[in-house]
Amino acid sequence: MQRIEESANGGPQLEKGIEERRRGPRSPASIQDGGGASRPQGEVTEGCRLPVLRRNQDNEDEWPLAEILSVKDISGRKLFYVHYIDFNKRLDEWVTHDRLDLKKIQFPKKEAKTPTKNGLPGSRPSSPEREVKRKVEVVSPATPVPASTETTQASVFPQNGSARRAVAAQPGRKRKSNCLGTDEDSQDSSDGIPSAPRMTGSLVSDRSHDDIITRMKNIECIELGRHRLKPWYFSPYPQELTTLPVLYLCEFCLKYVKSLKCLQRHLTKCDLRHPPGNEIYRKGTISFFEIDGRKNKSYSQNLCLLAKCFLDHKTLYYDTDPFLFYVMTEYDCKGFHIVGYFSKEKESTEDYNVACILTLPPYQRRGYGKLLIEFSYELSKVEGKTGTPEKPLSDLGLLSYRSYWSQTILEILMNLKSENGERPQITINEISEITSIKKEDVISTLQYLNLINYYKGQYILTLSEDIVDGHERAMLKRILRIDSKCLHFTPKDWSKRGKW
């Protein structure tokens, strides 16, 4: 971050032509200022869009277009919370003024300020199209969108601007009162009936959480055991803890405390060295613990709070009762350290075998995610069911699942032996049964891999050489596997119990 700032000191390139468009009342002067020394930041309000400097993984500077979601003033220095358009929210960040390219600033449209149903529009940075569509329906009769909004971005812009403006009245990011009612608005239901989120599942597929507060990360840093994690998303930790530079978590019970001292004190009282559940799998250092969301509420809630920091669509609206939590741990001499987890509805009406799934960031890209997925299907195999993860998938979730599905299915296809000289063949149902992957996911994976072809009047599966090679290479890297022999799991029939 600091390095980025330093590199940004050179200042944005202002030479590029400034697009002429309507501006906010105070804007023109500041733009000419160039360096923005005098008062340009005063004009950068919530809802503005402008290129913001960020450094990509290859350590190159980029100027992606970003939207200002919030502005705060810390000891006279303004900070802007920016969302990079078409980037995932997890990359949103607080930036200093010098990283903004004010020359290309797009101001929110005044007209767009027209409130939506509830007076507070919901908006989502990454969903401009939908916003516009809805906006037009609502707004156009009264205030036609000016034709001067030329660019595609601009056409999107007024809409989002309205949201920004609405919240701009309040400084900082605490606008609790403001967000009341937003939720109702943002409920997707076309009939406009405000309602609580659905009670099944653990993900919100829509914009029900789409108010300005939940769009912004609220925890700066979490210390968990050896790790310091930078949260990706909002998590409803107690509000008084959100201002802390670091939130300390007990590595084993996941209790949150405000300071290292408190954590020290807590550790004198907490004797947990593993997740507080039953170990149902162990191979090598990897163990899985099953935790009942009803029986062990405090751990389940703490786990959910932590997970929410890294799962955008996860909802913590309802209690954890109907879920089981499978926590994957890695053992060392200090105890069983949480690596990741997935939650699972005790009874799923939609064949979900996973509700939320997460590998904690320090363990990502090391095969643990696939291990979690594999484990979830292993449980489904024991249950004798096929399953699918709850939707929506995140980008990482999609990639992980696709990768797992591809590898699992390809493994089966490639291992099929031809019987008595005939060509090996298999039905989709068979694949589904063997793997416990739901049929639809099998088909979509086959499609994604482009294996299904129509040949001589019938569907065939073609394994091209690059697919085979790619698979073999990938499998070489996949060292961590679930050993079903190490699983000690008896599924419970939750439907026979009174309530989960």
């Binding site: 009670m199 507060i213 105890g335 320090p362 065939i460």
Partner: protein, 805 residues
């Protein structure tokens, strides 16, 4: 394109798909990618996120390279894993157990405080530690308690002191610190907590509120069956709860009444104290005035417990001497051990010595009994007496428990009229045994009585007599042939009963004699009957003819029944005319007079002892009879005394109707006797007492008739009672009566000690009047039934012997 023009069939998941390797596909170009024919599956992602730059880049990279490329992964915020103080923070090591970790659900919540001390607290602690010792955990517990006790409002210092079990100074210091800290705290609590939902729904959209309760049921459909069952269960639960409420309300009412009584008693005592009425004279005076009115009330009262109060009140004016005596007796025995007793008795039983009128024990007494059924100061039975101490079982059939207070048998019924005592005599019939025949196997089992055990099981209590071998030969068919006419039906069972005389008690009886006895209805005999022949007509008939009833059904109530047959010459099965009835009544009165005369003539000790023999025999004779019938027979006796036959008849009718239910010797009494009986059972389950009480109730139900009758026809009865009630009489009576009673009662599996107690402990005031008339009766009947008596004696002796062994 032409190749795509055909319409591809839908992809069939059940259809086998042949797998072609790339090298097997010579004509790969002929192969048509059918992706467009198969509907594209959704990725499962949010639309707008699907288009995100990094994802698309990663997907395309994967499509191209078939593996992940480091630069193409989706970037995420950084994470560090270099917390250098980790090892200092997480001290110690944890060894992986060999077994899978299994956690006990209840081990999870330990009692550790949720509050964790921060560095600010540490400063305070260091400061406090200069003056006193306070450990961090102790401090945390204090704060934890304070936090958890205060919701919106902070607990006050006073509450804090109650909450915290610490030194006052420490509490003050910590409390003040806590209040200050709490004020500066940004959050709602010093223990950071997830925001809770509010019921009013105002927090529905608060993003910081999490883990709301699920208000709706998740899947009602699945549980529909369950719902119905649980609904019914809920209804049941509700019913039961409401019943509990009713009971509690009744208890409340009872306790209120008790309190009222206590207050009234206290008031009375206080008033007396102020008046200086230490001897109880004024009280007696007052009571005397009231008694005329009150004397009627007992008749309407059913509950033995409650009318006793009135009885006591009534009795006082009539028998002051008796009362004093009785209390004297009691005092001697109980005072040393139960000092309370005195004060209990005082308000009601004036004693000669001045006693502390309002004593604490007086009040305590009420407290002590607060959960008891009895409102009035019950007379506790002596804890132990010399005789009892010798006898391990004491005078009670049950073993007395330490710390338990038992009540002495009620003595007050003695003071009733002499019909009562007569009734009491008859009352013994309750415990009598009858010749009984079983349905299956169909045979005669000898003398037995039937009772209903727990759960409604029918229990036959058998006694052995020397007729047993003889009785076994009795063919039920023989009985059947003639008994149907005199049978009565127990509606609830397959046993019916024929009447019998007390002949069976004779020492030497042949089978034919027994049969003839049965035939002539002198011997009671139960036998099964299949048809409910008994209809209302026959019932009425029998009830109208008490003599017949007695003979037919019950009781045969030895002496009375015998009286009828022998003296009046009335055929056993025949009815009693009003005339006969009158004569019978006159005879009874005469009997009483004779008895009285005898008693007065002779020295009490000797005479009463002599009288007791016939009496006891009479009683025992009747004791051999079925036990149920006594109330009815008592009624009969009572009605016999009453000059006006009409009311008595109705009375009898009524009572007999009720006793029809009891016929088989099973006590299923209804009306007064029922209440009484159950009360007795509850008290001691001792038939001895119950007999006495039953007499009393019967007496009550007939008081309206009895008392005037008493006053007019036999004015001597009351004095007679009084005269009988001297200590000497009692003691002598005891010596004679008790053995008989003992054996009788034991035979009936009833506690003999109670009977003994009746005679000994409780000053046997009830016994004497009972004894006298019955003994008079038996003395009259002696000539006719000499052998019976002998037989009885024999039985009595043998049973006593049996008991001893």
């Amino acid at each position: 394109m032409s190749k795509l023009s055909f319409r591809a069939r839908a992809l069939d998941a059940a259809k086998p798909l042949p797998i072609y390797r790339g090298k097997d596909m010579p004509d790969l170009n002929d192969c048509v990618s059918i992706n467009r024919a198969v509907p594209q599956m959704p990725t499962g992602m949010e639309k707008e996120e699907e288009s995100e730059h990094h994802l698309q880049r990663a997907i395309s990279a994967q499509q191209v390279f078939r593996e992940k490329k480091e630069s193409m992964v989706i970037p995420v915020p950084e994470a560090e894993s270099n917390v250098n103080y980790y090892n200092r923070l997480y001290k110690g090591e944890f060894k992986q157990p060999k077994q899978f970790i299994h956690i006990q659900p209840f081990n999870l919540d330990n009692e550790q405080p949720d509050y964790d001390m921060d560095s600010e607290d540490e400063t305070l602690l260091n400061r406090l530690n200069r003056k006193m010792e306070i450990k961090p955990l102790q401090f945390e517990i204090m704060i934890d308690r304070l936090e958890k006790a205060s919701s919106n409002q902070l607990v006050t210092l006073q509450e804090a002191k109650l909450l915290l079990n610490e030194d006052d100074y420490l509490i003050k210091a910590v409390y003040d610190y806590w209040v200050r800290k709490r004020k500066n705290c940004r959050g709602p609590s010093l223990i950071p907590q997830i925001k809770q939902e509010k019921r009013d729904g105002s927090t529905n959209n608060d993003p910081y509120v999490a883990f709301r309760r699920r208000t709706e049921k998740m899947q009602t459909r699945k549980n529909r069956k369950n719902d119905e069952a649980s609904y019914e269960k809920m209804l049941k639960l509700r019913r039961e709860f409401s019943r509990a409420i009713t009971i509690l309300e009744m208890i409340k009412r009872r306790e209120k009444t008790k309190r009222e009584l206590l207050h009234l008693t206290l008031e009375v005592v206080e008033k007396r104290y102020h008046l200086g009425d230490y001897g109880g004279e004024i009280l007696n005076e007052v009571k005397l005035n009231r008694s005329d009115k009150e004397i009627i009330t007992p008749a309407t009262l059913h509950n033995g417990n409650h009318h006793k109060i009135q009885e006591c009140k009534i009795k006082h004016p009539h028998h002051p001497s008796l009362k004093e005596e009785a209390s004297d007796v009691r005092q001697k025995k109980k005072y040393p051990k139960k000092p309370k007793l005195e004060s209990v008795i005082t308000p009601q039983q004036p004693t000669t010595e001045p006693l502390p009128v309002i004593s604490k024990s007086d009040i305590k007494q009420y407290d002590f009994h607060s959960s008891d059924e009895d409102d009035f100061p019950q007379i506790p039975s002596p804890v132990s007496e010399p005789e009892e101490e010798n006898d391990p079982d004491g005078s009670c059939a049950f073993r007395r428990r330490v710390g338990c207070q038992y009540y002495a048998p009620r003595l007050d019924q003695t003071n009733y009229s002499c019909e009562n005592s007569e009734l009491a005599e008859l009352d013994k019939l309750r415990h009598r045994h009858c010749l009984t025949t079983l349905t299956v196997p169909r045979r005669c089992i000898g003398f037995a009585r039937r009772r209903i055990g727990r759960g409604g099981r029918v229990i036959m209590d058998r006694i052995s007599t020397e007729h047993d071998p003889l009785l076994k030969q009795i063919d039920p068919e023989m009985l059947n042939s003639f008994s149907s006419s005199s049978q009565t039906v127990d509606f609830s069972s397959n046993f019916s009963r024929t009447n019998a005389s007390n002949k069976h008690c004779e020492n030497k009886l042949s089978l034919s004699e027994i049969l003839s006895n049965i035939r002539s209805c002198r011997l009671q005999c139960f036998q099964p009957r299949l048809l409910n022949l008994q209809d209302s007509d026959s019932e009425e008939c029998t009830s109208r003819k008490p003599g017949q009833t007695v003979n037919n059904k019950r009781v045969s109530a030895a002496s009375v029944a015998l009286l009828n047959t022998s003296k009046n010459g009335i055929s056993v099965t025949g009815g009693i005319t009003e005339e006969q009835f009158q004569t019978h009544q006159q005879q009874l009165v005469q009997m009483q007079r004779q008895q009285l005369a005898q008693l007065q003539q002779k020295q009490q000790s000797q005479h009463s002892s002599q009288q007791m023999h016939p009496k006891a025999q009479g009683t025992s004779t009747s004791d051999c009879m079925s036990k149920t019938l006594d109330s009815a027979s008592a009624h009969f006796a009572a009605s016999a005394v009453v000059s006006a036959p009409a009311p008595s008849r109705s009375e009898v009718t009524k009572e007999q109707n009720t006793t029809h239910n009891n016929i088989n010797g099973v006590v299923q009494p209804s009306g007064t006797s029922k209440t009484l009986y159950s009360t007795n059972m509850a008290l001691s389950s001792s038939p001895g007492i119950s007999a006495v009480q039953l007499v009393r109730t019967v007496g009550h139900s007939t008081t309206n008739h009895l008392i005037p009758a008493l006053c007019t026809s036999s004015p001597q009865t009351l004095p007679m009672n009084n005269s009988c009630l001297t200590n000497a009489v009692h003691l002598n009576n005891v010596s004679v009566v008790s053995p008989v009673n003992v054996h009788i009662n034991t035979r009936t599996s009833a506690p003999s000690p109670t009977a003994l107690k009746l005679a000994t402990v409780a000053a046997s005031m009830d016994r004497v009047p009972k004894v006298t008339p019955s003994s008079a009766i038996s003395s009259i009947t002696r000539e006719n039934h000499e052998p019976e008596r002998l037989g009885l004696n024999g039985i009595a002796e043998t049973t006593v012997a049996m008991e001893v062994t």
